[in-house]
């Protein structure tokens, strides 16, 4: 089975400025996205994430390298037929209603009228905009625009969905809704390739991630392989135990009335504290081991690159 996306040694530079100066944006990106997985593409601002996506979509032409979508050259019509795309901060024709807007995009795929209408009503329901069908896009909120953007990306029922910062600028509820839709894509067998700054979201839903810094992929792999189960430290909140007794067992972070929050770096010390609490007839309010997160890896990778 061919990979959904295969990028090999992708290079792109731009000549910018009044006195043109060449700036190398992509310095040899290679990555593969397997069919049916959710792939997170991370990187700091200016790392080349959007440039990679634009190369993938044929909006800009790479200087070197090859891109294949389901084994087809990325510029071929057959490759495009299987592709859906939602840009960052989407702007659409704001004088159209949600329904007219989706009809226009469906016409670009040459769908028949009955098929088109059925698909549009299904999509509007999927993204929760069935009540806004005759509302002009200019009256849409940021979250609604993001959702109608997702609907246009799905109008051709694509096998591969590319999303550029789909969670940016949304409130927590909006983020959850989009996240749920992305998870539903996976259940339907679609492949999702997306970029995001919100690392918790990526950690929650991605199977594979690639971290790009300065135009190069510096780390990639399955999320479980990258994020180890190793406990970095444990946070314990106890009450009813004098502060003096706890001294030396852990690093005191904050004291609020009777409650003391401790950060314990050595795992063995946790049992000592629990024994002490029992002995002093105190209470454990909370105990949370902090394992390594994607954020730790991201910060470590970017700082080290």
């Amino acid at each position: 089975m061919a990979d959904a996306i295969r990028i090999e040694d992708l290079k792109k530079s731009f000549r910018l400025g009044f006195i043109p100066k060449t700036k190398e944006i992509l310095k040899g990106i290679s990555l593969a996205v397997k069919e049916g997985e959710i792939f997170g593409y991370l990187g700091p601002n200016g790392a080349g994430k959007t440039t990679t996506i634009k190369c993938l979509l044929g909006l800009i032409f790479p200087d070197a390298g090859t891109i294949e979508i389901f084994g087809q050259p990325h510029l071929s019509t057959r490759a495009r037929q299987n592709l859906g795309f939602l840009p960052e901060n989407p702007y659409f024709y704001d004088y159209l209603t949600a329904c007219e807007f989706l009809e226009f995009y469906a016409d670009l795929f040459g769908l028949g009228r009955s098929e088109r209408d059925a698909r549009i009503s299904r999509l509007l329901k999927l993204v929760g905009l069935e009540r806004a069908t005759s509302l002009q896009l200019r009256k849409f909120s940021r979250g609604m625009l993001q959702r109608i953007g997702l609907a246009q990306a799905l109008v051709n029922d694509p096998k591969l969905v590319i999303l550029d910062e789909p969670l940016g600028g949304l409130d927590p509820l909006g983020r959850k809704e989009i996240r749920d839709i992305i998870i539903r894509f996976k259940q339907e067998g679609k492949t999702v390739f997306f970029t995001s700054h919100i690392l918790q979201d990526i950690e929650m839903i991605c199977d594979h991630v690639a971290i790009i810094v300065g135009g190069r992929v510096v780390k990639q792999g399955a999320l479980q392989e990258l994020v180890s189960e190793k406990v970095l430290f444990t946070e314990i909140t106890v009450s009813g135990v004098p502060l003096e007794a706890l001294r030396g067992l852990g690093e005191s972070v904050s004291v609020q009335g009777e409650r003391v929050l401790l950060k314990i770096l050595e795992e063995g010390r946790v049992d000592d504290i629990l024994a002490l609490v029992r002995e002093k007839r105190g209470k454990v309010v909370s105990l949370s081991p902090r394992t390594e997160t994607l954020e730790d890896i991201f910060v470590g990778t970017v700082a080290g690159a």
Binding site: L59, F85, Y91, F92, F104
Partner: protein, 254 residues
């Protein structure tokens, strides 16, 4: 089908542009004002109405083509709507042709509107409408089609202000280039004449579409010239569109 979808959306967008209605209003004022000019003129009043009316249709039509045409493609790039469009199975040539046809449709509706005002005014004075007037309007429209292609060509790589200046320059050069023909006849053989001949071949000659004088003064028009002007307009438009597609196909959308 895809070109039709782009043309449809372009028409919808263009007809929302207030500039279009402002120019239409001024064109209507121009046509109707010809009646006042006619009163002030000694001689055939209808000639003045025809002359000023046709000139108004031509000038305001060109302004519509330039001002809307130069911003259409640029707006798509500037507002990034083009990102979602070109990620679909849509060739860049289809995008350009769709934009072109959408604007041609807009100008067709506007030309019909302006012409109706003009023809009603003439009919009220003469109680008849000559077919030659319709021919003159048809060739004005053909000129607008060519100007639209030029506006889209410039708009595919430049900003609206620059594109407008370039397109209007094209229009002016096109209506003055016949002077080169005169110059060539009067020049002695030599490098200067070769340069003038070269320029005359490559620069547009928009006077090919100008039948105003013949219509106003009821002069005979040789039949062959219609076909020549028609073919000239169609081939020149096709050439300009091909050039626009060639430039647009190689463009990076940063």
């Amino acid at each position: 089908m895809k070109i039709g979808a782009i043309a449809g959306i372009t028409f919808k967008e263009a007809k929302r542009d207030r500039i279009l209605y402002l120019l239409f209003f001024f064109a209507a004022v121009g046509i109707i004002a010809s009646r006042i000019l006619a009163i002030l003129t000694v001689g055939d009043r209808v000639k003045i109405i025809k002359d000023v009316g046709l000139a108004s249709i031509s000038i305001f039509g060109v302004l519509m083509a330039v001002l809307i045409g130069t911003s259409l493609v640029y707006k798509e790039i500037d507002k990034k709507t083009i990102f979602t469009l070109l990620s679909k199975p849509l060739h860049r040539a289809q995008f350009i042709l769709g934009k072109f046809l959408g604007l041609v449709l807009t100008l067709f509706v506007m030309t019909v509107g302006m012409s109706l005002i003009f023809l009603v005014l003439v009919y009220l004075h003469t109680f008849r409408v000559e077919w030659t007037m319709l021919v003159a309007i048809a060739y004005i429209f053909l000129e607008l089609v060519l100007i639209t292609a030029v506006a889209i060509l410039f708009s595919s790589f430049s900003t609206p202000i620059l594109s407008s200046i370039f397109s209007l320059a094209f229009y002016l050069i096109g209506h003055l280039s016949w002077g080169l023909e005169l110059l060539i006849k009067k020049m002695k053989a030599g490098t200067g004449r070769v340069v003038a001949q070269f320029l005359y071949v490559f620069l547009p000659d928009l006077e090919n579409f100008n039948f105003k004088t013949e219509v106003v003064h009821n002069l005979p028009i040789p039949a062959g010239i219609f076909l020549y002007s028609l073919l000239y307009g169609l081939f020149y438009t096709a050439f300009i569109l091909a050039l626009a597609i060639l430039i647009f196909r190689r463009r990076d959308f940063i």
